[in-house]
């Protein structure tokens, strides 16, 4: 007996073509992934940038600082700029092909350009920067054409201090310099953490340092009239400079506030906290923190307004404006006890135990710093 079977015809050539999907190397890696985590890893998604405020969005302390103000934290959050040798300010000059809103402009040079950010690691360790780990640095920059920028990575105890510094060979190469031009360029460099690096118990961070260089052997000083713009700074693990990781302003601000919290506004009185009189002139204030600080022992810097004062403490309806020095009462996690002498008048109703409420004057600031 003969059985006839009919099947729909197929075009083998088309079927083979379907197997040859135009997915590219990255697409094929995604297709081969066994888990969602594999997919995230293969496309390097999220939480890549170890630099905080790399897009220069957050400037809690102020949007400009003149030269001669000391080599410490002054302007853009998380960045330690060596303002003994140059001033800096927030600028809206950004690469048009990038999504950035702001850059940092550095000018008025009398010395070299040094911009640091200390990336926190667990104390006394190298953190995620283990032997063999690739570390890729990228950023946009432009400036006067003869200036070159170079990158340096070293483990440090605190910003601006080389004491106990550990500078592994291979994370500092003068010859890997970036020649600036009047047009924005994106630069990237990858370093590999060498084996055998040990750090002392006081080490708290890996310090990214961006410096002006001659590109051969030394840090150089740009000319006084030179200008350098930089933005989109990213440090990530891996050998490829991926697109800048954008975080919302609120998230970036919260990340910054682990290291610095500024209370104050150019034109508004800002509420500070409540407390009670300790004596007729000294006060204890309770000041809540939006984010737990990095350290239980922050510094306080008071910045006065045009009247030479920063604080207004009220007992009932009687306020006293002063430039009292804020002292930390106890170690802190989420709330500060600030003790101040000379914060009230000493006359009625300012009696010990009286309840107080307080504010930072318009144009003044209280800077609470837990920077590395």
């Amino acid at each position: 007996m003969t059985v006839n079977i009919s099947k729909p015809s197929i075009n083998i050539r088309e079927k083979l073509a379907e197997l040859d999907k135009p997915s590219g190397i990255a697409g094929e890696a995604v297709l081969r992934a066994d888990s969602v985590q594999d997919v995230r890893d293969s496309i390097n998604a999220g939480r890549r940038n170890l630099i905080i405020n790399g897009g220069f969005d957050v400037w809690q302390r102020g949007t400009s600082i003149a030269r001669g103000s000391g080599n410490t934290y002054h302007s853009a959050d998380r960045f330690l700029a060596y303002t003994n040798s140059a001033g800096n300010a927030r600028s809206t000059d950004v690469p048009s092909e990038s999504p950035h809103t702001y850059s940092m402009k550095v000018d008025d040079f009398t010395g070299s350009l040094i911009i640091d950010q200390l990336m926190e690691v667990p104390t006394g360790t190298v953190g995620p920067f283990k032997a063999g780990t690739n570390i890729t640095i990228s950023y946009w920059a432009k400036g006067t054409t003869h200036v070159k920028l170079m990158n340096r990575l070293m483990f440090r105890q605190s910003g601006g201090s080389s004491t106990n510094e550990v500078s592994p060979a291979g994370l500092y190469d003068h010859t890997k310099s970036n020649s600036l031009s009047s047009s924005w360029q994106k630069f990237s460099q990858t370093y590999t953490m060498p084996a055998g690096v040990t750090v002392g118990s006081g080490i708290q961070a890996l310090n990214l340092s961006i410096r002006s260089s001659d590109g051969v052997s030394a840090v150089i000083s740009p000319a006084a009239a030179d200008e350098i713009f930089i933005t989109g700074i990213q440090v990530e693990l891996g050998s490829v400079a991926t697109d800048f990781e954008h975080r919302s302003y609120g998230e970036e601000l919260a990340l910054c506030q682990r290291y610095c919290y500024v209370i104050g506004h150019p034109s508004q009185v800002i509420y500070l906290g409540t407390g009670s009189m300790y004596t007729s002139t000294a006060v204890n204030l309770s000041v809540p923190l939006p984010v737990q600080l990095r350290s239980t022992s922050p510094s306080f810097t008071r910045v006065t307004n045009g009247t030479g004062n920063w604080l207004n403490v009220y007992v009932g309806a009687t306020g006293t404006v002063s430039n009292a020095s804020p002292l930390q009462g106890d170690y802190t996690q989420s709330n500060l006890r600030i003790y101040m002498t000379g914060a009230h008048s000493g006359s009625s109703p300012s009696a010990p135990g009286a309840g107080v409420w307080s504010m930072v004057l318009a144009g003044a600031k209280l800077i609470i710093s837990s920077e590395l």
């Binding site: 410490t72 605190s158 004491t163 106990n164 350290s295 306080f300 008071r302 930390q328 106890d330 710093s369």
Partner: protein, 178 residues
């Protein structure tokens, strides 16, 4: 100028007030402002303090300075131990056991097979001078200068030697005891 201030019923020892920056600084090793206070004590001594420097701060500053000198001395010593570029490096060989053994027919015991092994490779000195082209309005001209690698090597060795020469003996003793 720094001064010391205490807070009633505080769990902290005292605060340091800097009247230049209007900053109040805790006594805490992980605070970067505190580290700057120690740096200032190292650089300026008692001149940066109103009154006497508290013993605890002076001790911390001395320890920090000692640690820095030890680190600098270590770095300088390692730098000086490197070969001089203008001289090069001679090959060093050692007679080492290869891991093989053979029967010693005289003693009847196993003997190691030995071989000369190069433990330090030879490196030729770099050229003492280099020639470069100098451009001007005229035709480019050649100029012979000292090899920049040698110039940098000499400079770095001079700096390292200066660090070694300036290192206090207790720091050297601590290094030798490591």
């Amino acid at each position: 100028m720094y001064s010391i201030h205490t807070v009633p019923f505080s769990s902290m020892p005292y605060c340091i007030l800097c009247d230049v920056t209007n900053t109040t600084i805790p006594v805490a090793a992980d605070n970067s402002d505190y580290q700057r206070v120690l740096d200032d004590i190292i650089e300026q001594g008692a001149d940066c303090f109103e009154g006497d420097i508290p013993e605890e701060l002076q001790t911390a500053a001395d320890a920090k300075e000692f640690a820095q000198q030890l680190a600098d001395y270590t770095t300088a010593t390692v730098r000086l131990a490197q070969y001089v570029l203008s001289v090069g490096r001679a090959e060093v060989t050692e007679n080492q056991a290869t891991g093989e053994q053979v029967v010693n027919e005289g003693t009847g015991k196993m003997d190691d097979v030995m071989a000369d092994v190069v433990t330090v490779t030879a490196i030729d000195p770099v050229d003492a001078t280099v020639t470069r082209l100098v451009y001007s309005d005229e035709e480019p001209t050649e100029e012979t200068i000292e090899n920049p690698l040698i110039t940098a090597d000499v400079s770095e060795r001079t700096d390292a030697q200066a660090v070694v020469d300036a290192t206090p003996q207790p720091v050297i003793d601590a290094y030798n005891a490591l």
